[in-house]
C-alpha cells in the first residue's frame, strides 16, 4: 500500500522550512497603476480592481497615483503611533503569555496597517465586527490598554467577567462588537447590523474583518449573498495574510485569482489592496465607506499582507514555512513604510520614531503594572464566581439558580 500520487493533491506553498522564501509567483502589479473610480460606479465597470493590487506608497516611500488620500500629516502620525503602540502591546502580551500570565495570545505583527488604517477611515459611529487580529483598530478607537490587558488576564477588572479567552475583546462604548472564537460568524451579522441602520434611516455603516482561510466558511457566502440582495451598507474585509495557521492561503483560496474577485459573482465591487500600505488601505476603505453611506451598498476589500508571527501562542510556524519568510515578504513592513513616508514628507524623523517606540514601550509597561493591581488569571481576584451563572438569560431561570446553589454559592 502506502504512498499514492493519484488524484489531485491540495495546493502547497512555494517554499517549506529549509528552502528559501519564494514570492516570485505572486507577480504583484506596480502600485499606482489602477484608477480610482467614482465611489458610486457600477460594480460591473470596476472589476479590474479585483485583479490588480491597489497601492499608494512606492519603493521610495512617496504617495503615488489616483488612490493617494489627502491625509494630514497629523493623521498619519496618529496612525503610526497606534501601530507602534500595538506592536509594543503585542510584544509585551506575548512575553507575558510565555511566563504564564496569559493562557493564550495572538499577535498581529505585519498586519497593523490593515486594522488601524481600516478603522481610521470609518466614523466613530460605524460598527466594527472584527476578528481576533484587529487589536490595532481597538486601540486606535481609543480603548484603554489597561482594560485590554485586564481582559487578557481575566482579572477583577475584566469587562467580560473572565468569561472569554484572551483577545476576544468586546467594547460597546467604542462600537466594537463581541469577538467570537468561531471563525467568520460575524461577517453576516455585520450585514444584518448595517441593514438595520439603513432601515432606521441612520447613516452609520458596518465593517467586518475575517482572514483568508475563513473565506471558505459558509458564513462568507452568507454575508456576500445578504449584502448583495439587500444592498447593505457594509464593508467586508478579507485579511489575506497568506496563512491560516499552517495552511497556505491557497487551501481556502484554491484557484481564486484573488479573494477580492469573489465579489464579482455577487455583483459587488471587490478591491484588492496592499495591506501593508497604510495610505492605500485608508484610501480604499474611505472609498467603500463613501459608497456605502451614499446608498451604493457593500464592498469587499482584500487586504494583501503577511502574518509576521506565529498564528497564536499555540502555534509553531517553523514546521511549515521558512524562518525568514516574513523578512522576504515583498510588501515590506507597514510601520517602516509609513515611517519612511512621513520622514520623506519632512513630518517625522528617526529620532521622533525612536522616542515614539520608547514611549510606547513605557506606556505598555506602565499599563501592565496597573493591570496587575486588579489581579491575575492564576491568583485572581476574578469576577465573583456567581457571575458565572449570570447573563445566560436576561433573568436567571430556576435551573441556573439551583445549579449556582449546588455549587454552594
Amino acid at each position: 500500500m502506502g504512498k499514492s500520487d493519484a488524484g489531485m493533491p491540495a495546493p502547497a506553498p512555494a517554499s517549506r522550512p529549509g528552502a528559501a522564501p519564494d514570492f516570485a509567483k505572486l507577480g504583484l502589479p506596480r502600485p499606482g497603476d489602477l484608477p480610482r473610480p467614482d465611489p458610486l460606479a457600477p460594480a460591473s465597470e470596476i472589476q479590474d480592481l479585483a485583479f490588480g493590487l491597489v497601492g499608494v506608497l512606492n519603493e521610495a516611500g512617496e504617495a503615488e497615483g489616483p488612490w493617494a488620500p489627502s491625509l494630514a500629516p497629523s493623521a498619519l502620525r496618529r496612525g503610526l503611533k497606534t501601530m507602534v503602540l500595538t506592536r509594543a502591546y503585542d510584544d509585551r502580551m506575548l512575553k507575558m503569555q510565555r511566563t504564564k500570565r496569559l493562557s493564550f495570545y495572538m499577535k498581529c505583527l505585519g498586519e497593523e496597517a490593515v486594522a488601524v488604517a481600516g478603522v481610521d477611515a470609518l466614523d466613530a459611529g460605524d460598527m466594527v465586527f472584527p476578528s481576533y487580529r484587529q487589536q490595532g483598530a481597538l486601540i486606535h478607537r481609543g480603548a484603554d490598554i489597561v482594560d485590554m490587558m485586564c481582559h487578557c488576564i481575566s482579572n477583577s477588572r475584566d469587562a467580560l467577567k473572565g468569561r472569554q479567552l484572551p483577545v476576544h475583546y468586546t467594547d460597546r462604548a467604542l462600537n466594537w462588537f463581541s469577538i467570537s472564537g468561531n471563525l467568520g460568524t460575524q461577517f453576516p451579522q455585520a450585514v444584518g447590523w448595517s441593514m438595520a441602520s439603513a432601515l432606521k434611516g441612520e447613516t452609520a455603516i458596518a465593517a467586518s474583518w475575517i482572514g483568508d482561510g475563513t473565506t471558505a466558511e459558509g458564513d462568507f457566502h452568507s454575508a456576500m449573498t445578504l449584502a448583495s440582495t439587500y444592498n447593505a451598507p457594509v464593508i467586508l474585509n478579507v485579511v489575506n495574510n497568506q496563512w491560516a495557521i499552517s495552511m497556505h492561503t491557497s487551501i481556502s483560496g484554491g484557484k481564486a485569482p484573488s479573494f477580492a474577485a469573489k465579489a464579482i459573482g455577487y455583483g459587488i465591487p471587490g478591491i484588492w489592496v496592499d495591506g501593508n500600505d497604510f495610505l492605500a488601505v485608508h484610501a480604499v476603505t474611505q472609498w467603500a465607506a463613501e459608497r456605502a453611506r451614499n446608498g451604493g451598498g457593500p464592498t469587499l476589500i482584500e487586504t494583501y499582507t503577511y502574518r509576521g508571527e506565529a498564528h497564536s501562542t499555540s502555534d509553531d510556524p517553523s514546521r511549515y514555512r521558512p524562518k525568514d519568510d516574513y523578512e522576504a515578504w515583498p510588501l515590506g513592513d507597514p510601520v517602516e513604510r509609513l515611517r519612511a513616508h512621513l520622514i520623506g514628507l519632512g513630518e517625522w524623523s528617526g529620532r521622533d520614531h525612536d522616542t515614539l517606540v520608547q514611549d510606547c514601550k513605557d506606556q505598555v509597561s506602565e499599563a501592565w503594572r496597573e493591570a496587575l493591581t486588579f489581579g491575575t488569571l492564576e491568583e485572581g481576584p476574578h469576577a465573583p464566581v456567581p457571575t458565572m451563572f449570570e447573563d445566560v438569560f436576561a433573568d436567571q431561570p430556576w435551573h441556573l439558580r439551583r445549579q449556582r446553589q449546588e455549587l454552594g454559592i
Binding site: M127, A159, L160, K161, R163, Q164, H168, T170, D171, R172, F177, S178, S180, N182, T185, F187, P188, Q189, A190, V191, G192, W193, S194, M195, A196, S197, L199, K200, A206, G218, D219, H221, S222, A223, T225, L226, T229, E390, D391, V392, F393, A394, P397, W398, H399
Partner: protein, 338 residues
C-alpha cells in the same frame, strides 16, 4: 374574541407586534410577497412594507445571522425557518452566536431574536418535513424554547417570545395549524372553530414563558406533553378511561418543573410524550429530573412514549407517530404497575 385557527392566531400575533413596535421586522424564505408557504405572514408585507416584511435568500444560517445582526442594532426580528427540518444550516449561528452573545459580552450586547418554525409529523411529509428537533435546542444554554398546542397559546406565547430580551425558538406543530389532531388519521380533520382554545383575544396579550398548563386535572397518572401530543394524550386518556393529569408544557426551556413535580408527587406516576426520537429526546431530561425530584413518590417507572430512533418515514407515518394506541398502552401499563 375571534375564533381563529393556529395560522391566523400566529399571523395576528405578528401583526400585533409589527403594529406596536417599529423595531419589529419579519423575514424568511417566501415570507414576503407570498406570505409564507403556510400563509402565516400573508398580507403583512402589503400592510407594513417590504422593508419590515420580506423574503430572504435560501440560507438558514444567513437568515439567523442577519436577524442577530439586526437585533444588535435595535431591531426585534422574527425570523421564519420554513420547516424545522431545515434549521440546521443555521445551527451554528444559534448555538455559537445568538445564544452566547449576552454571556460572552457580559451583557454589553444582546440579541432578542425570535425564530419561528413549523415542526412535527402527521402530514405525510416524509423525513424532511416532519421532524421534531426540539431536544437539540434544549441543550443550548441561553435559548428559550416554546411549542404551543393551540391558537390561544400560539398567539400569547409568540408575543411573549418576541417581547422577551432572550433569543427564542418557537416551534409550531404544523399538524395543528388547521385544527386539533388527536392522533387518529381516520377521523375527518377537526377544526379550531368549535374549540375553546380557538377563541383568541384581539390585540395584545401574553401567555407567560415557563408556565405549563394543566389541560386535564387527574389523579391516576401525570402525562407531560407538548404540541400535537397534548391532543393525543387527551384522547388516549379518555379512550383508556384513565384519570390522567395532563400537562401541556408549552415552554420547554425554561420548563415548569414545579407544576410537573407537584403533579407527579400527587399521582405517583408519570408518562412523557413527544414525537421526536426517544434517545436523548427532551423526554429524557424530563424523566431524569422527575425521578430525582419525585423519587419518594414514584410508584412506577416513568414511561416515554415517543417517535422511534429512525428518520421519519413516509409510508409508515402512522406506525412511527406515537398515536393513541401506544399512549393508551403506556398509560395502562403505568397505572397498573405495582
Amino acid at each position: 374574541m375571534a375564533q381563529l385557527n393556529m395560522m391566523q392566531a400566529l399571523s395576528d400575533a405578528i401583526d400585533t407586534l409589527l403594529s406596536r413596535d417599529e423595531a419589529v421586522v419579519t423575514f424568511g424564505e417566501d415570507v414576503g410577497h407570498f406570505g409564507g408557504v403556510f400563509g402565516v405572514t400573508r398580507g403583512l408585507q402589503d400592510k407594513y412594507g417590504a422593508t419590515r416584511v420580506f423574503d430572504a435568500p435560501i440560507n438558514e444560517g444567513a437568515i439567523i445571522a442577519m436577524a442577530m445582526g439586526m437585533a444588535t442594532n435595535g431591531l426585534r426580528p422574527i425570523a421564519e425557518i420554513q420547516f424545522a427540518d431545515y434549521i440546521f444550516p443555521g445551527f451554528d449561528q444559534i448555538l455559537s452566536e445568538l445564544t452566547r452573545l449576552r454571556y460572552r459580552s457580559a451583557g454589553q450586547y444582546t440579541a432578542p431574536v425570535t425564530i419561528r418554525t413549523p415542526c412535527g409529523g402527521g402530514i405525510y411529509g416524509g423525513q424532511t418535513h416532519s421532524m421534531s428537533p426540539e431536544a437539540f435546542f434544549t441543550h443550548i444554554p441561553g435559548l428559550v424554547v416554546a411549542m404551543p398546542s393551540n391558537p390561544y397559546d400560539a398567539k400569547g406565547l409568540l408575543i411573549s417570545c418576541a417581547e422577551s430580551d432572550d433569543p427564542a425558538l418557537f416551534f409550531e406543530p404544523k399538524r395543528l395549524y388547521n385544527g386539533p389532531f388527536d392522533g387518529d388519521p381516520d377521523k375527518p380533520q377537526a377544526s379550531w372553530k368549535d374549540h375553546p382554545k380557538g377563541a383568541v383575544p384581539e390585540g395584545h396579550f401574553t401567555v407567560p414563558i415557563g408556565v405549563a398548563d394543566i389541560v386535564r386535572p387527574g389523579n391516576e397518572v401525570t402525562v407531560v406533553a407538548y404540541g400535537t401530543m397534548v391532543h393525543v394524550a387527551l384522547a388516549a386518556a379518555q379512550a383508556q378511561g384513565v384519570d390522567a393529569e395532563i400537562i401541556d408544557l408549552r415552554t420547554l426551556i425554561p420548563y415548569d418543573i414545579e407544576t410537573v413535580a407537584q403533579s407527579v408527587q400527587k399521582t405517583g406516576r408519570c408518562v412523557i410524550l413527544h414525537e421526536a426520537p426517544r434517545t436523548s429526546g427532551f423526554g429524557a431530561e424530563l424523566a431524569a429530573q422527575v425521578q430525582e425530584e419525585c423519587f419518594y413518590h414514584l410508584e412506577a417507572p416513568i414511561q416515554r412514549v415517543t417517535g422511534w430512533d429512525t428518520p421519519y418515514p413516509h409510508a409508515h407515518e402512522w406506525s412511527y407517530f406515537p398515536g393513541q394506541a401506544r399512549v393508551a398502552r403506556a398509560l395502562k401499563k403505568t397505572v397498573e404497575f405495582a
